[in-house]
Symmetry: C2
Subunit: 479 residues, 2 copies
Amino acid sequence: MAAPQQFFSYVDGNAGSFIQRLAKAVAIPSVSGDGSSRKHVFAMAEFLAHEMEALGIQVNSVDLGNHVLDGEELPLPPVILGSFGHDPKKKIILVYGHYDVQPALVSDGWDTDPFVLSPDEKTGRMYGRGASDDKGPLLGWLNVLEAHIKSNIELPVNLRFCFEGMEESGSEGLDELINSRVGPGEFFDGVDCVCISDNYWLNDRTPCVTYGLRGIAYYKVQVSGPQRDLHSGVFGNTVHEPMTDLIHLLGQLVSTKGEIKIPGISSLVAPVTADEMKRYEVLDYTVADIEHSAGAQVAISDNKTRVLMGRMREPSLSIHGIEGAFSAPGAKTVIPARVSGKFSIRLVPNMTPENVDILVFRYLQEEFAKLGTKSALKIENLHGGKPWLADPNHWNYRAAIKATETVYKKTPDLTREGGSIPVTLTFAEALGVNVLLLPMGRGDDGAHSTNEKLDRSNYIEGTKLLGSYLHEVGIISKS
Amino acid sequence: MAAPQQFFSYVDGNAGSFIQRLAKAVAIPSVSGDGSSRKHVFAMAEFLAHEMEALGIQVNSVDLGNHVLDGEELPLPPVILGSFGHDPKKKIILVYGHYDVQPALVSDGWDTDPFVLSPDEKTGRMYGRGASDDKGPLLGWLNVLEAHIKSNIELPVNLRFCFEGMEESGSEGLDELINSRVGPGEFFDGVDCVCISDNYWLNDRTPCVTYGLRGIAYYKVQVSGPQRDLHSGVFGNTVHEPMTDLIHLLGQLVSTKGEIKIPGISSLVAPVTADEMKRYEVLDYTVADIEHSAGAQVAISDNKTRVLMGRMREPSLSIHGIEGAFSAPGAKTVIPARVSGKFSIRLVPNMTPENVDILVFRYLQEEFAKLGTKSALKIENLHGGKPWLADPNHWNYRAAIKATETVYKKTPDLTREGGSIPVTLTFAEALGVNVLLLPMGRGDDGAHSTNEKLDRSNYIEGTKLLGSYLHEVGIISKS
């Protein structure tokens, strides 16, 4: 049975206050990857705990201790564990979200202040860092709970919340916490399934449920030579230049067509089956869709299936930037003394950070040796996470599909996602239950990029979707 | 005849106040390449004009109008023209210097605040941005004038000063000004020779006079694709990535051994003569010297002559950095939408910015076409300057050599420099007189790099050198 009508009515009637809740959250620049913003990540945790307690959720903010970020020791943001409902006749549904965000500066090219939720009344788009990734979906769960409480609707399940503040920076400390709380009587004991809303539709029109994620292995490759930066006039053509060496090294990683040049990577990739191929063919997705999301005609291929597989079931290698070189506007005639290339590889079955590390380290060392330079090489793996695949025929998925059909009057696409949410795998392995990804946002939301947005309708209908999902799960006999 | 003893005594006796003068100048962050520092460049011009007028120099600060820097229209810093002495029986010596500096941030790796002159009493090194390039030498001329006035020593020449504030950013507007003031009765009319103190000794022990400079052609290569930055998980292996394209393109510019790969460049380089080869062999310079200056064993060759020629008479290509990519510490999983590689080529006879531009633009376009990407390419020449060579047997050089022998008791090395001072060529061509480069600083001063310094002894003895040079020039009969 779908969620009762009063639930939908309450959500529609309180859309304005739900958007206010999101605006408050976006206003807190909880950037986990930048040490100077750490206080804001903690402020976001306090805001969240306060909102949850106001809804009657039993909250426990777990201190994860300290970590070192760029040489500075910093306190880790807490993991917020919440409990609502202890009825043994009801299933226990664990929902996960993260309250930290990617870095964002107006100077990156934002049209609005990234930390002020800026709704465009005409398009219904609400711009702001974290609006879609992942503050909107996270607050969606609180909206659902508020709607039930204020409308005196009984919640058909017991809810457990796990909200972290380091997802954009490798989820440090989370795995250890989860694995330490799975025993009898512990917080995660008895969880029947997990629902995570932290990804996106394939396009801007068709909802989806997601049963796979790529993993990641993120690398920092440092090349150093002179003791300090040098004048390119005085030293040009007299010393080995680390920047030249690094450029040559990074050029050996991936072709301009996206093919990873590191030997052994392709043989780690699980072969595609005929059944799997069919799934890509039926998806409501075109090459035009991805070019619409990217805002330009830059698709790597004109073949829909090739592009979909490139995102869902093939690895990728992206070079993100260089630390230590001249990066400002203008012209500086410097030979940088120490430069660090940053790149990451998205992992698919059967790749793991461990088996990829071996190939990457060996390859970089071999290619660097070929350069015949006097510069020094240092390779670091900054963070990693395995890929994940779930069974899309599980009751958890059937409930999500039913709820989507109820709210959106459409059968959702059954997708695998290109991004990484390492915790998904942690939950699947630590709790041994089915994990579902039920996205709220659209494929063109621009998570991690400038002008990130969440459509008003996705936020409001998405809140209805999360609520409906709980009711669909609730009516499935607890076996 | 060398300068009178009272001159040397005054310089020694007033070293402290001369260093204070330098400290005041270093404290003004006159970075010409960064629009936000422009007000400081103007403050530096005011400081200088005030110091000059206090010495009785007739000062004329010439407004050069506005220019556009990174899309922002800014006023150009003034060129400060100064006159001291109008005795028709004396030569007119034009001295040039620049009061702007390269960018510098503590976060670049400075051990001290770059804009606080920080003397190390033990080593005698005085650290600070601009200490050696070029505020120390520029103030050296004022020290010389002060010494003569306060000691009632007649200056043996008429002095003309030309101090600019845009040298580190292409000397915008200067050439036009010079060429407009060379006519009869104009400021530069009647100049007998030019002396510029804006380069360095080869090493840290032997003074030199310099008769050649490399030119420069500085390029910005922009590769753009998506409309905005993208999430590498969502878009990795589905779109052409500008950063991958740029890395491949930059990798085609220069080998890790310093060989420029752009076809046609090497055939522009004037062949070396036997006489010229000899000059390199006799220089007081070893591979160990350059590695000492660089602070690491990173010389491109173990052959002294190869390294010297690489700096003095061969072109070089340095990749300075990338604008628009992720350059901060930490890990950001972004596909940058628009990235711009910055590189420059040091030019030697018979290369010119014009004949090099043709080769660079054509080559980059050809190589980019081979990449088979949907990204877009845009190439800009940010600034350029021709190489310069003078006759080292001219009386202007003989005077400098004599003065060096008087002050340092050493015959100076006769060198060509790797850096660019385009104005040198402008003076040579516009005034049709001999131009001399008479450096104050050492080869390990670290101009343009972190922890730039000027040795106390080089500042004080260098002041004596500039004064002695004026006396040596003064006694040569004005013909």
